[in-house]
Symmetry: C2
Subunit: 194 residues, 2 copies
């Protein structure tokens, strides 16, 4: 009955994410997307409904990948302090080795789309909450394991970690100096968690 799609929707979303990530929402045109995705105008509108809807789905994919990657990485660590250091160092390395200096798609989009897109603000606020919950969960585990001193306000620390992480993603765009960024991160981590 129906004709089959000639492209893999998930693959196209991944590519769309890359382009929006690199250029931002407003500077990415449908023409750019057609060229980069390799599918036609009509296919974009048929499959995704338009530029904004395509962006939203690409963004959602990135967001979920990002969240799960953090959680999976920390879950695999035996020592929470070293685990946090490792994930931060990895982010720094990734950012500094990216020839495009794209930074973080979420951070970039927050900066570009708020204010102006109130619904986007809600989504990203929830994302922050999710990330901080991941931090709190693993920090609690660290306390239980005796790797982090008891009595600390873990919610406050997790907000600080999120803030530092967010800052890193911006700093990495202008001044991708891995050693400098690692040093400042180590200072913050050891100061917060000792």
């Amino acid at each position: 009955m129906p004709r089959e799609k000639q492209f893999d929707e998930q693959e196209v979303l991944k590519k769309a994410m890359l382009l929006f990530w690199r250029k931002g929402y407003h500077d990415t045109s449908i023409k750019d997307l057609i060229a980069f995705l390799g599918i036609s105008n009509a296919s974009i509108y048929n499959a995704f409904g338009g530029k904004k809807k395509l962006f939203d789905r690409a963004f959602s994919n990135y967001r979920m990948t990002n969240l799960h990657a953090l959680n999976d990485f920390l879950s695999a660590q035996k020592n929470i302090k070293r685990g946090l250091q490792a994930i931060f160092h990895r982010i720094i390395e990734d950012d500094c080795n990216d020839p495009d200096c794209k930074g973080c798609f979420i951070v970039n989009s927050i900066a570009e789309l708020i204010p102006g897109d109130p619904e986007f603000k809600i989504v990203t606020s929830q994302h922050q909450k999710s990330i901080e919950e991941v931090f709190v969960t693993h920090l609690k585990l660290g306390v239980r394991r005796g790797q982090i001193p008891d009595g600390k306000n873990l919610e406050v620390i997790s907000t600080a970690l999120y803030t530092h992480m967010t800052g890193l993603r911006v700093v990495g765009k202008t001044t991708p100096n891995a050693e400098e960024m690692k040093a400042s991160t180590d200072a913050v981590l050891s100061a917060l968690l000792s």
Copy 2:
């Protein structure tokens, strides 16, 4: 001989800065500027040379104001620790009381324009260096005054402060919770400077 300008160039730059700050570069059209600035098409091109050049000048104004405000504020403080806390708290209050949640014009522009504008990257990298120099200068003063323990790597701390500040400006756009942001800032500051 010549006809005089009917507008104050500095005033117009200030207004342009506000609009670019709120909407970002790409989503601000010449039409938007004409309406918001109250001057005509030809005046914009005659006085500033075009959209990008107007942006650059508005951005430069903001950047300088921002840098001098930080330096002046810290210079007026007797205690560097309390001074840093005060400036961070003020940024937090400003961000959280802004009904537009504009965040920081510099941070927003970094997120939106890098990569894609290599010259802009150079400017903002230099800006980071300038801000960190201000921090280092005042941290050194704090050490000399005995307000900060000796032996710390002040360059690393200043990078950490810059990173935290940058992160705050993004967090404030999605989740403008002043109490939360102040608590995390206090945690970072007291941890770094004790």
